[in-house]
């Protein structure tokens, strides 16, 4: 699902409510028929969230960052993590400290984390920001591939998405 709308309409807030980081003022967020508040761990195991911030430690390499973040979710080998970095076009950054990476490279590493976690539901907040044309195409391809595998993605983006007929659009009004 593609969520769009002018600045300040609450797109990121909606995404944070869906992650469970914020409690909804009204209503209930459910996943697989259960409220996410009642089974937060099950829900979080099915969830990969990429926020505005790439959640990288500057003093660790991209691979070390990935090993830690993915390692909290599942046991992953270095080959798997390198493959995820390769898939997002960040293989060359694997052994570089995150502080020397450009904003676009950081975004690619963050997407590699989402990919490597292997979750069914992707929640992405402005994932196209700072990506070049090739990076945007790569991300769209990843979204299509994820949907083809039966995965779901909620994407907040100003960028026009062209990821196939399955996509739904939610335009938020101010």
């Amino acid at each position: 699902m593609h969520v769009s709308g002018p600045n300040g309409t609450g797109k990121t807030t909606l995404l944070r409510v869906v992650t469970g980081l914020l409690r909804p003022e009204q209503g209930v967020v459910t996943w697989r028929g259960k409220s996410i508040a009642s089974t937060p761990t099950d829900y979080q195991n099915d969830l990969a969230y990429a926020s505005h911030e790439p959640a990288l430690k500057g003093d660790l390499t991209a691979l070390e960052n990935l090993r830690f973040m993915v390692g909290l979710r599942r046991r992953a080998t270095s080959q798997e993590l390198r493959a995820a970095l390769d898939r997002t076009g960040a293989a060359g950054c694997a052994d570089l400290p995150a502080r020397v990476l450009s904003a676009g490279q950081r975004r690619r590493v963050a997407m590699a984390r989402v990919l490597a976690v292997g979750a069914a539901l992707w929640l992405l907040d402005e994932p196209y920001t700072n990506l070049d044309t090739v990076g945007c195409a790569m991300l769209s391809a990843l979204l299509v591939e994820h949907a083809q595998k039966g995965g779901l993605a909620l994407v907040v983006a100003h960028h026009e998405l062209s990821v196939g007929a399955k996509m739904r659009h939610l335009a938020m009004q101010g």
């Binding site: 992650t19 979080q44 969230y49 911030e53 660790l60 390692g71």
Partner: protein, 226 residues
């Protein structure tokens, strides 16, 4: 294959220690503060060994408390600023486990390091050699308990730009029993009486804070993220 709580604890602990050793300034600053502050007393007071020995427990403990507080502000702040905290909350691991590992790592690079250099300071303050074991064990227990208390303060102030002063205001009143029993134990060891009672109380406070404070700090972090 999902990851168990113990594996997550070890992973967070290793990462925190790795980050601390790659930024040695964070490691060295509290130590230098501790050494400098405690060295000022023998320089500023008259060179009477009996006077220094009498003041040693208080000086040691106040300096150790303040040095431990110096680095507490950074416990969760950098994670909150770079988005890591949100990822940790959504990792499917209990936030309690993550807070426990982060706080223990903080103690290992601040409190435990203070304990290791305390014999140098003890010698400068004319603490007898026989009181060193008590001085070191009381400082170890006290700084560990202070780290648990500090985690609550750090959790509550993580969203504030300059939370350092507020952490001190939250934590120092709670740390008074630690100061009383810790300095008391060292004082007893210096004067040749048994420090066991004060050490037991210090250990009990350490267990109490270790058991409850991570829950409180985790709750504080969740509130701050909302």
């Amino acid at each position: 294959m999902s990851v168990g709580a113990w594996s997550a604890f070890v992973l967070v602990l290793r990462r925190e220690l790795c980050l601390s050793f790659r930024r040695p300034d964070q490691l060295i600053q509290p130590l230098m503060f501790f050494l400098i502050v405690t060295t000022l007393f023998p320089l500023g007071l008259s060179v009477q060994l009996s006077l220094l020995r009498e003041m040693a427990p208080g000086v040691l403990w106040v300096a150790a408390l303040l040095a431990s507080l110096l680095s507490l502000d950074a416990l969760f702040k950098s994670d909150a600023e770079d988005g890591t905290l949100e990822q940790l909350v959504l990792s499917g691991q209990g936030l309690y486990v993550i807070v426990l590992a982060k706080t223990l790592a903080h103690w290992l690079v601040s409190g435990a390091a203070l304990v290791l250099v305390s014999p140098v300071v003890g010698t400068a303050l004319a603490v007898p050699l026989s009181a060193f074991p008590t001085m070191m064990s009381s400082l170890g227990l006290g700084t560990l308990a202070l780290s648990w208390l500090g985690a609550i303060g750090a959790g509550l102030t993580v969203g504030l730009k300059r939370g350092n002063v507020l952490i001190s205001l939250i934590v120092l009143p709670l740390a008074m029993p630690l100061l009383i029993f810790g300095a008391g134990a060292t004082d007893r060891a210096i004067s040749g009486t048994s420090p066991v009672g004060a050490l037991y109380l210090l250990a009990a406070l350490c267990v109490l804070t270790c058991t409850l404070a991570p829950f409180a700090a985790a709750a504080a972090l969740r509130i701050t993220l909302e």
